[in-house]
Amino acid sequence: MESKNIVVAVPAFNEATTIGQVLRGIPPRIDGIPVTTVVVDDGSTDTTAEVAAGCGAYVIRHLTNLGVGAATQTCFRAAQMLDADIVVTIDADGQHDPAEIERLVDCLIDGRFDVVIGSRLLDPQGMPLLRVLANLLLNAVTFVVYGKIVSDSQSGFKAFSRSAVDCMELRSAGYEICSEIVGEIYRKKLSYKSLPVKAVYTTYSYAKGQHFLNGIHLILGLFIRWVRRV
């Protein structure tokens, strides 16, 4: 596959503390292919947009907070407008190491896979036990709703081929987006690979990540989707 453009897209909401570090860690080129960085500021009330623009990223601002799912969909739309061949999504809270983007992209460049999921659970070292258990539970819920089991259904660190981005039909505005993407991989018969990635859990990223109530909300959202499907 001859790639000409890689877009790294970062959905962000009130991440002024960490987004600069994440953006500075993104490699400017991968295997000689230029990398364009896009930040979708999901109605932040802090200086997320200013910090991101200062780091040289394109910044797209939602007027109000729509949710991580809506921001991720905006990331995909922006990547299509930039005519990206490969799209990488990464969390803005610093829980992923941007240096690992290259490993994800390498799996796509030769066209073997449509989607690569950066899986924190294949090597959960450093991940709090409660997080591991919560993510395993969400893997099970994702399987019940979408019929597909993957090692880390809730990972925000993924790489997509352009054809995968074009064919996915996403609707979720909230955290359910990760499970919905797994569902689309299954529904559209996309080839995928789970690649172990490091999870960098700091006090900040732990506090910013999905907490218990978000988990309940997510399961409820997935349950409603399941009810509507049957």
Partner: protein, 114 residues
């Protein structure tokens, strides 16, 4: 005195709902069908609250097959259906709003220092 409470409440709520619906209808925010629907629904609720004997009459009219339980069951099913309809409409509106905000965001200049 306590037995009057549901009657007063029903009339009070009916006045609020029907007047609000009428104002929205006059302002062309609400359709005629919806206004008529709310008016009939709340008129029925007020009649049942003021004259509960209507329920006894209905039960005796339809015979032994229909009891208070059946009517309550039908009411619950109807309410669940309405909640479902409201939920799906709300989701549709939510998606339209999301789409609008996304399109607006994408049409604005993408700020960068590059």
């Amino acid at each position: 005195m306590f037995w009057l409470l549901p009657k007063i409440l029903a009339v009070f709520l009916a006045v609020i709902v029907i007047s609000r619906s009428y104002i929205d209808f006059r302002a062309r925010v609400e359709s005629l069908q919806l206004f008529v629907f709310w008016t009939i629904t709340w008129t029925v609720i007020v009649v049942l609250a003021l004259f509960p004997a209507v329920i006894d009459f209905t039960i005796s009219y339809f015979g032994r097959g229909v009891g208070v339980g059946t009517l309550l069951g039908m009411g619950v099913v109807l309410l669940f259906f309405l909640v479902y309809r409201i939920y799906t409409k709300l989701e549709r509106v939510d998606q339209m709003l999301t789409k609008t905000i996304r399109e607006m965001a994408l049409r604005e200049p993408w700020n960068t220092t590059k």
